[in-house]
């Protein structure tokens, strides 16, 4: 019975395991139903992972690790695995003093102001980011250091949510800084550039993928005058943080840190395509836009394990060369 009561603690509480307050209309019963299945999967994955995590608390890149990442990294290993497979660990080791040095240096005044405006507007529904929480300071540090190091990109709204969720999981601001730096420079280059061209192109690319994988749906959405940047700007800039349920976002990030940007496209395409029938029933622009809001947070998405599996099995291949060619085409099209 001990197991049952600890499950109740997880599912019935007003605050979830990451410190987020649950809405009054939080669907406890479907979450409970999902968690009772997912906890078994988690403990199985945890045993598997303990076999590949070395004594030095390191994990190498390999086909096996990639497969394991797709099936989900246990929370206790997430910070270490993300750091290792993304390359952030290596960057941090090669510039061990950089983070502290940046924090002590003079900062650009307008950037400080832009970040300060967003501090109380990042996860205010999370106990650690509320006025009494202890993470607003680290959030400021990480964001200012990141903008300082990458001054050509500066501070881009949206990164505050990514940094916030990373802080909740990794619990070490220097590591969060290096993970974000790796995201900005290696995994998603130019995503957060001030001209926003790469982000806009990525959304057009999502459109092209829908056209390729579900041409009838693409035609319908076009008829409804849906533009991709209305749908996916926040999805892509926040990497689904503050868009999807936390657990699902983390599962996406498990793949993102290992294999890079393609997972964002897979997830975005799956979100849309798995709701094709309902989309085809939407008759107006407004109705369609309203429906876009519903597809990111519902029981189908809460079941992160099934959803992620679907992203890899039901969409067919995403060949690198084809994606690259399409992306270049989309980049040409962005003014």
């Amino acid at each position: 019975m001990a197991g049952k009561s600890s499950l109740d603690n997880v599912t019935q509480s007003k605050v979830d395991g990451y410190g987020f307050e649950r809405d009054g209309d939080f669907d406890h019963s479907s979450y409970d139903e999902f968690m009772s299945r997912y906890l078994a999967i988690l403990s199985r994955r945890s045993i598997r992972w303990s076999g590949i995590v070395s004594k030095k608390n390191r994990v190498p890149r390999s086909r096996k690790v990639k497969r394991y990442c797709r099936k989900g990294i246990p929370n206790e290993h997430r910070p270490m695995v993300w750091m290792c497979v993304s390359g952030a660990q290596e960057s941090m080791a090669s510039s061990p003093l950089l983070y502290q040095t940046i924090l002590k240096s003079q900062h650009d005044e307008s950037t400080v102001e832009a970040i300060t405006i967003d501090l109380h507007r990042t996860f205010p529904d999370n106990i650690y980011f509320s006025a009494n929480g202890n993470l607003r300071g680290p959030l400021f540090n990480v964001l200012i250091a990141l903008s300082h190091k990458n001054s050509d990109q500066g501070y881009c709204q949206g990164v505050n949510f990514v940094a916030g969720l990373l802080l909740l999981i990794v619990k070490n601001e220097e590591k969060v800084f290096w993970l974000l730096d790796t995201l900005m420079n290696d995994i998603l280059p130019d995503f957060y550039a001030p001209d926003m061209k790469a982000t806009q192109a990525e959304q057009e690319l999502l459109g092209e993928i829908i056209k390729w994988k579900a041409p009838d749906l693409h035609a319908h959405l076009k008829k409804m005058d849906i533009q991709w940047c209305l749908v996916a700007t926040k999805w892509f800039l926040c990497l689904f943080a503050d868009v999807m349920p936390v657990e699902t976002t983390l599962r996406i990030w498990d793949c993102l840190f290992y294999e890079g940007d393609k997972i964002l496209l897979r997830v975005a395409a799956m979100l849309i395509i798995q709701n094709k029938d309902q989309f085809l029933r939407c008759r107006t622009f407004t109705e369609t836009m309203d429906f876009f809001k519903q597809i990111v947070n519902n029981p189908k998405i809460t079941d992160c394990h099934a959803f992620l599996q679907k992203c890899f099995t039901e969409l067919g291949p995403f060949p690198k060369a084809k994606i690259k060619a399409l992306r270049e085409e989309c980049m040409q099209g962005v003014k």
Binding site: E113, A114, I117, D118, H120, R121, T122, F123, P124, D125, S130, A131, G154, C156, Q157, G158, N160, F161, P194, D195, M196, Q200, D225, Q227, C229, L230, T233, K234, L237, C238, D242, R281, R283, T284, F285, T286, E287, M289, D290
Partner: protein, 235 residues
């Protein structure tokens, strides 16, 4: 009033989301989906613009839900939408309100949508001088991308913050006069003038669509001057 009502909204312009403006409304929304059964005669696209942190989302939530929960707002990333159907003397006007991210880099995404907006609510924060100083740049942007007959309303938000105020009401009035746009101060916190801002836009649309050639033109600026509350008292 009923005879003024346009059948199924046809003929009243484009569906507000349509950037090309070539789709008429498709009938009243399908009754099959409960969230979208509301009926309307006219529809209007309103955009909220202005610097980051001036209170665009707060103003919208105050109007939509009548609520202001201090410390519960998040930065808007990209563009968000909310709809509200309001009643203007018996005509149902659907306002489709586009809430935008204020950070400068997002303008390259948002200004493409000014073109088919019927009204732009341009906000600054009376406690933040930079947000007021940037209004000229925003108006330049509007001039470049919006339709010529777009309704522009300049709103000095956070007018309840008397202690921190750095922009006087007269400063806002003067600027609005210079650019011939409607002006008032608002408070999403107390609700002062919030409904009026949106209702004036709805009224303007209704007048544009139903005014007979012999009747005088409706002037939004005069209308809000007459209706608005001033100062920090009794909102």
């Amino acid at each position: 009033m009923g005879k003024d009502r346009m059948q199924n909204g046809y003929g009243s312009g484009s569906e507000p989301g349509s950037p090309n403006g070539h789709h008429p409304f498709r009938e009243h929304k399908q009754a099959s989906r409960q969230s979208s059964t509301e009926l309307f005669d006219l529809a209007s696209k309103v955009m909220l613009i202005g610097d980051s942190g001036v209170g665009k989302t707060c103003l919208l939530v105050r109007f939509k839900d009548g609520a202001f929960l201090s410390g519960s707002f998040i930065s808007t990333v990209g563009i968000d939408f909310r709809n509200k159907v309001v009643d203007v003397d018996g005509t149902k006007v659907k306002l489709q309100i586009w809430d935008t991210a204020g950070q400068e880099r997002f303008r390259s995404v948002t200004h493409a949508y000014y073109r088919d907006a019927h009204a732009l609510l341009l906000l600054y924060d009376v406690t933040n001088k930079a947000s007021f100083d940037n209004i000229r740049a925003w108006l330049g942007e509007i001039n470049e991308y919006a339709q010529e007959d777009v309704v522009i309303m300049l709103l000095g938000n956070k007018s309840d913050s008397t202690a921190d105020r750095v922009i006087r009401t007269e400063d806002g009035e003067k600027l609005a006069k210079e650019y011939s746009v409607a002006f008032m101060e608002t408070s999403a916190k107390t609700g002062m003038n919030v409904d009026l801002a949106f209702m004036a836009v709805a009224r303007d649309l209704k007048m544009k669509k139903t005014r007979k050639p012999t009747e005088p033109k409706f002037n939004v600026a005069d209308y809000v001057n007459q209706e608005k509350k001033t100062g920090g008292c009794c909102s």
